[in-house]
Symmetry: C2
Subunit: 417 residues, 2 copies
């Protein structure tokens, strides 16, 4: 596309691309914008180095004028978008990229990869966080997804409401609080379970979390309290009927005087399993597979569409709306869009309003897109805690049915003006 | 675990970890080992640099003796495994890592991340390749998964039988053949569809693939042949009822004399949609979302379990089998294992045989694990085409029901000796 547009003289036409999704995953009531911060890094650092240019030349993938153009590539356009952590609905223009066709079209894949992945994880995390209420969630899914997707997943999980991660690379890269755990291998390494517990307590203190389901749970709990005393931080249960076992372990811990020792449960949890444990004496949940795979929806269906472009390369040429028009369902709405969240009389969100014309007065204060990149310069970088808090507030501003786990329609209708 | 084991004097006990899965994804008939080559790179390059050590120190995550140990970390053990591209079944020990507990336990997450991700994609790719028969499959899923998971997914798809990828980064990194396509944006950029087609043909030649569903398909096909002539390489259809549209477009192309012009279809294809198009006049399939998300199963449930370890750090201490024994379903079988694929009289595979004792004579020639790393040195690196061919042969050696798309049991039973 780039090579042909450069040759045809259309590559420099001013263009507007928008990222949106036509639908939420089936039954989901809201989406979560995540990955925006990573998109800003990717846009700023998008380059073609000598090795890559050499590959493109050697394979004959693009011609010499295109190679020259790529060698000096720097994105110099503008990006607006929903702030990271916001919620979104079908049609929400969560990112808008504006510049020459050539500089914008090259960013399609990296922008969609990041937003589709991170938003899918954050949406699952947000549902799990709702289900967990005040109990902390630990991200433990690194081993169930690509090794670097795992680091991004930790970041998205934190935005969605997780408290900590067991992925030290995510702690290193993004400053997310890290927690550890021991595996069955650690117990099996030692001659007796007691030796393993003793080694762990000696090294990490009584506040540590001991894994109690390698052999017999009741015996392990007894041994754990004998070794660590009643100040033992927590025990972890990773198998069996968690509801039943948690009740038994709580009773046993209380009888042993370890009334402040917490119970952490893990084992293929998802938002439904978390909700089903609401009445169980559980203090924290560790979630792996179902988090990093988006709890059934590992990707979003976000697309990156050209919605307007100039009819010539003249800098004064007006932008003209464009859209695919064939039959078959994949039509889009042309034109550069604004979006606002309309509130009802009590201040709760009642509609996602999207338009291409003038913004009605009553919505001017409720516009959702903010400026992120101006002339190629990233304007806004945010600490992850700000993003996490924003998500929490945005979710709280939705109608109550947003946090129902059952399948349903998007909790806000999308209205086009 | 590392810190506690170092302090307890158990970290240097010789240990054997095995990677296996307790079950295939529901209804799947075989698994595909993929990612082994990437695991070898990861094991060889696993290091803790100054920045990472500084992070671990500053956060107080591990103590000074552990930091010192990490600073000089190099894996010096042995790795055996199923050759990449082989098929596997529940219980198959697809990778075995042997060395000190400390050096092996650190590799758990990266090994599982790679194998769980890559094998999930390869399994989906293999089913799609069976469904596609002789027609080539194009990997087009980069935008639907994490930006680097996408590159690994291209590699896994190629192993599973895909012919090409649209991800240039995968071509650069792994030498996978690349193909391009144009998007609706390219058509919309131009004043008329004809101008877009002309620009593309002028730049890329008549052999290019023109996207014909931006406006009206029949009109686009007519324009495409007018612009490119009857030597036009291919047209792509990305929406609508693909079966119906492909028939119409084939008829139209033939009537226009473009009898050799091919038809490429894309649009949320999975193995079932591909199979349903078997009788349609389609020449190639482009697959995105469903490939990179494992067609419903984005991860495997592989685990990395300690199966044997010495009872002391004495180099002559014998290995003792170990296994989790609690109730709750997650039990494992202790001991270092061999695996073989038993054939029936006609040379077709009939069972996956796994044992911990002596290998029966008739299975000696059918052993599956090969030596991959010896004393920390990677022994075997393979071109991706060798791996791809191995998978094709391994799948062909299974009972015919292996390639049925319908849900069923694993096509080989697992037998334990």
């Amino acid at each position: 596309m780039l090579q042909a547009a450069l040759a045809a003289g259309t590559a420099e036409r001013r263009s507007v691309f928008e990222v949106f999704t036509r639908r939420l995953p089936e039954g989901r009531r809201y989406g979560v914008v995540a990955g925006t911060g990573r998109v800003l890094d990717a846009v700023e650092n998008f380059r073609f180095d000598a090795d890559v240019l050499g590959f493109l030349r050697e394979r004959g993938i693009v011609d010499e004028p295109t190679l020259e153009w790529l060698a000096s590539y720097r994105f110099s356009g503008d990006v607006w978008g929903y702030p990271e952590g916001e919620v979104y609905f079908p049609g929400s223009p969560i990112l808008r990229v504006e510049g020459s066709f050539a500089e914008c079209v090259l960013l399609e894949t990296v922008i969609l990869s990041i937003l589709n992945h991170d938003s899918a994880i954050a949406a699952a995390a947000s549902r799990m966080a709702s289900a967990a209420g005040d109990r902390p969630l630990i991200e433990m899914g690194a081993r169930r997804t690509h090794e670097l997707a795992a680091v991004a997943a930790s970041r998205a999980a934190y935005i969605g409401g997780f408290a900590t991660t067991s992925d030290l690379a995510a702690g290193f890269r993004y400053g997310i609080p890290t927690v550890g755990t021991s595996a069955h291998a650690f117990t099996l390494l030692h001659d007796r379970e007691r030796d393993a517990f003793q080694a762990q307590v000696d090294s990490l203190g009584r506040g540590t979390t001991l894994l109690v389901d390698t052999y017999d749970v009741a015996e392990a709990v007894r041994t754990a309290v004998e070794v660590a005393g009643t100040d033992l931080g927590a025990v972890r249960i990773d198998s069996g009927d968690l509801l039943l076992v948690a009740h038994r372990v709580r009773q046993q811990l209380d009888e042993l005087g370890a009334t402040r020792t917490k119970i952490v449960v893990t084992s293929d949890l998802d938002e439904y399993a978390i909700a089903s444990l609401a009445a169980a004496p559980v203090d924290a949940y560790g979630v792996g597979t179902q988090l990093v795979t988006g709890s059934g929806h590992p990707t979003c269906s976000m697309v990156y569409k050209l919605v307007a472009r100039a009819g010539s390369t003249d800098a004064r040429a007006p932008l003209e709306p464009v859209a695919k028009r064939s039959r078959g369902g994949k039509t889009s709405i042309g034109g550069r869009k604004w979006a606002a969240r309309r509130l009802d009389d009590r201040g709760a969100a009642e509609a996602e309003v999207i338009g291409t014309g003038p913004v009605p007065d009553e919505l001017v204060d409720r516009l959702l897109l903010v400026e992120l990149v101006k002339g190629g310069q990233v304007l806004a970088r945010e600490p992850l805690d700000v993003v996490r808090d924003r998500h929490s507030s945005a979710r709280a501003g939705l109608p109550l049915s947003a946090t129902q786990l059952s399948r349903g329609e998007p909790v806000l209708p999308t209205e086009y003006l």
